[in-house]
Every structure is written in C-alpha cells, then in structure tokens.
Symmetry: C2
Subunit: 289 residues, 2 copies
Amino acid sequence: MLKEYLSQKKELIEKELQKNLRKYLHPKTLSEVMYYAVMNGGKRLRPILMYMMCDLFQRSYDNIKDVATALEFIHCYSLVHDDLPAMDNDIYRRGKLTVHTKYDEATAILVGDILLTEAFNIIATSDYINDKNKVNVMSKLSEYAGFFGMAGGQFVDIKSEHIKVSYDTLKYIHENKTGKLITAAIELPLIILNVNQIRKEKLIKYSRLIGTAFQIKDDILDIEGTFEKIGKKPSDEKLEKTTYPSLFGLKKSKEILNEHISEAKKILKDFENNNLLMELTEYIGKREA
Amino acid sequence: MLKEYLSQKKELIEKELQKNLRKYLHPKTLSEVMYYAVMNGGKRLRPILMYMMCDLFQRSYDNIKDVATALEFIHCYSLVHDDLPAMDNDIYRRGKLTVHTKYDEATAILVGDILLTEAFNIIATSDYINDKNKVNVMSKLSEYAGFFGMAGGQFVDIKSEHIKVSYDTLKYIHENKTGKLITAAIELPLIILNVNQIRKEKLIKYSRLIGTAFQIKDDILDIEGTFEKIGKKPSDEKLEKTTYPSLFGLKKSKEILNEHISEAKKILKDFENNNLLMELTEYIGKREA
C-alpha cells in the first residue's frame, strides 16, 4: 500500500519538477545542469510529506504542488553545495556522480545558488496560492532554510568535523540541518490549507520526531549501509563526525530511533485517514537506503 | 552635493544593514562571518539608487528600507561566491581579504547561501510592505537574481573565460550579471511606491543604461585602475575575459560609455527633482573606483 503510494506520488512530483525545469531554456548548458541536479533519483520525501498532508485533510494537491517543487529545489541545492570538495567532498550521490564531479565546482556553486533563488520565484509566481499565504510560506521557508535552519545547521556540522561534540550540539545540528526542511514539508501545507492551530502544532511536533528519527537512521545506515544500498560511500567516519552511534553506541541509537518512531505514531492516532502516514513513519525507522 | 548625499545615505543604509545583522546571534562564529561579508566597505550603490527613487517621488525611505537591505544582502552573497577559488579566485576585495581567504571555502559558500536566503526572509517579514507588494517584489527579485538574471549571467561569464566571445554574449553577460540587480534597485521601489507604468518603464530603461555604463566603466578601470584605487587586483586580463576594451579598444569603449551616460541623462530630463540622479549618472562614467 505505502510502496505503491510512494512510487505514484514520486512520479507525480517528478512530473511537476520537470514541468518547472522546462522553463529554464537558455543558456542550454546551465539548463542541463539544473536538470541533472534536480532529477537525481532522490526519494522526494519532503514533497511526498506535503502531498500526504493534502491527503490527510482530503484537499487537492493543487494547493501545494508549487511549494512542493520549491522545497525540493531547496533540498537539491543543499545536496549540490554539501557535496562540494570544501564541504563533504563527495564524488557519488545515490550512485551517480555529484554535480561538481560531473561538471565543475563553479557550475555546482552557481546551480545551487540558482535552485535556491528559483524556489522563491516558483512560490512568488504560483497561480494556486493567495498573496497572504505566499508571504507566510516564504517567510517560514526562508527561516527554515537559512541562518536559523538548514544552512546554520550545516555550518555547525562542518565546524564539528574531527572533534567530538556534545549531545546538545549534535541535536542542534540535526534539528537544523535536516529537521527544519522536514518540518517545512509538514508545516507549509498546513499554512496553505488553513489547518487549525492545535492540529498544526501536533503535526509540527510529529515532523520534529520523524526528522530526528530520519537523521538517527541516516547515522546508523552510514555505519551499516553499503555503497550498493545507499548509493554513496559512508562519509561520517571519514570526517570523524559525531553521530548518535558514536555518542551512544549502535544499540542505544536504535532504541532512541524506536522511541522517536513510537512517539510520532502516537501523535498520528489523533487524526483520521492516518494509515499511510503511520506506514511512512514505520518505514523511516526501517528503511535500508 | 552628490558626495555628501552618498556618504549620508551610505551611513543610513549601513545602520539598517547592521540592525538586520544583529538578529543573527547564534552560532556566533557564523554571525561574525555574516557581518564581515556584509560590512565590506562597499559603495552601497544599489540601496542608494533605491533611496534616490524615494527622493525622486518624495516618499519616505521606510517604504523600501527592508528591500534595500535584502538587495544588498544578495549583492554581498554574489561577491562572496564570485570570489571563490572555483570562480574568480580573488584574494582581496576592496583592499580586504575575501571571505574564503579570511575564513575558509566552506564558510564562504554557506554564508553566501545564508545571505541569499535571509534576503527573502527580510522582505517576507517586513512590517513596511503589504502582502501584494511583497509578492511582486520577491517575484522580480528572484527573477533578476536567478537563472534569468545575475547567476545566469555569472555562469556564462565563467564559461567564457579564456575564449573570445561575441558582442551578443558580452551583452548577455553584462545585462544579467550586473545589469539585472541595478534594474532591481530602480524597479523594486517603483513597485512599492506604485509609480505609474509609463514612468516606471522610462526609469527601467534608465537603469539598463546605467547598468551597462557601470560595467563598461568597470572593464576600463580593470585596465587603468591600480590596486590602491580599486582595492583588488585587475583580474579580467588574468582570466582572459572578453571585455568592452578587448572587443572595441579603450578609446571606442569610452565613447560607448559616454553615449550610455548621455542617453541615461536624457531620460532623467522628464523627471522633476532629478538633480542628484543627474549627478550620480555622471559619476558612474567618471568614478575612479
């Protein structure tokens, strides 16, 4: 059931991504790199969460499809920049050459900059959202992607390489570097769908739990995963990054992961039509890539 | 008269920049880098043009001060990224170490990303602009900064190093890499101030003329300027970039520059209170740094 849903939605989301990418025609070489950076074989977890919010409240995807494209553009830009030699220095991502490896560093920097900029353009020029919601969405999205969100978290992460950091710092990194965009995936649709404050807060709490769970699972996969499964070389060890397993050991990390998953599922019990979200929540704890 | 105006406005603009920068407290190291990247001794030409639009139509700076900060953040991000080793590889800018030289490359990439992201946050959360104008401003700003603007122009510029390009390509580079943000500096205030279409179009045309003039003058300074005057090493020659002087020679380039300046001044004649803009237009042709 979930598997089918995920593959259906992924197809829908990638059609939207491609539709948007077709606007960027000239310079053609740049247009090709943008396509390569976005159509990267990703799981599309963030847009899928947004579509799931529409399904949870039985509302049309039209409400949020442009914001889903924008959020995925921002996620893709962050991957392109994170892979750069000065950052994580990754040659492969999901089994494909990273953008700076296939093209060059200048191109990767610029394509990241462009994806970030165009994300805001897609929301600002959307035909499906009113001005008030556009402003609220862009306000939250920029907060979650910038200094107080993803990029801030990435900065602390980079600065924490080769040193052992405290649990507080590790939490800060996770909550910001990956957590904030997962929260965005849940919160932005709730803004547009005008969901009441109590339900919104519950689901934002849910997003934080699965965000952390997702990251702990990433840390675990980085140790247990193989190139074949996760499509890249395990890199945390190479960079001597502090992770849940390095702080708590593998066994305890798995326990913490499971606690987060059950907390998240507890929140979902207050919502009807929660079947798919329940399944997805379990999948986050169990995924192998 | 102009000189005093410029230094007064620069002070005002830098106070606004600093006020905004004070919001970014933790992580402190990141906050310091942002300050370094923004308080960089720049001329603040783009925000000054925005303030001049307010003066031209005798309206309060409050209308546009947040957008001025946002535009300058975007300009600063572009400088930080352009200076990177993979791009123009500059060690100095305005006589100070570039961000990646003073700190490191990862920091420079992230601080650029953050300045770009926060620019949209500043507009989206501004207390001085209504939602309709926020959306229109962010729509134009992202267009002018992204694929169809500054970053697209920078991409073509980078790809044109060490090869002789056509006049059309050179124009494309200039119109996008530097021109579009200068047009933004003129057009965004006109959106917010609700200036009528005819006047808006005239001033947008004016912005294109001074944008090109500014770039031709940059090319000329890159040949005639010294480190003491322009605060950086002349770099176009090093990278064998096609420039107005390399295509047309120095003498003809100066003629084209002067034509642009007089065309621009002609447009201004249709506006009252144009004294300062007239002086600024002349200054763009004559500046020595």
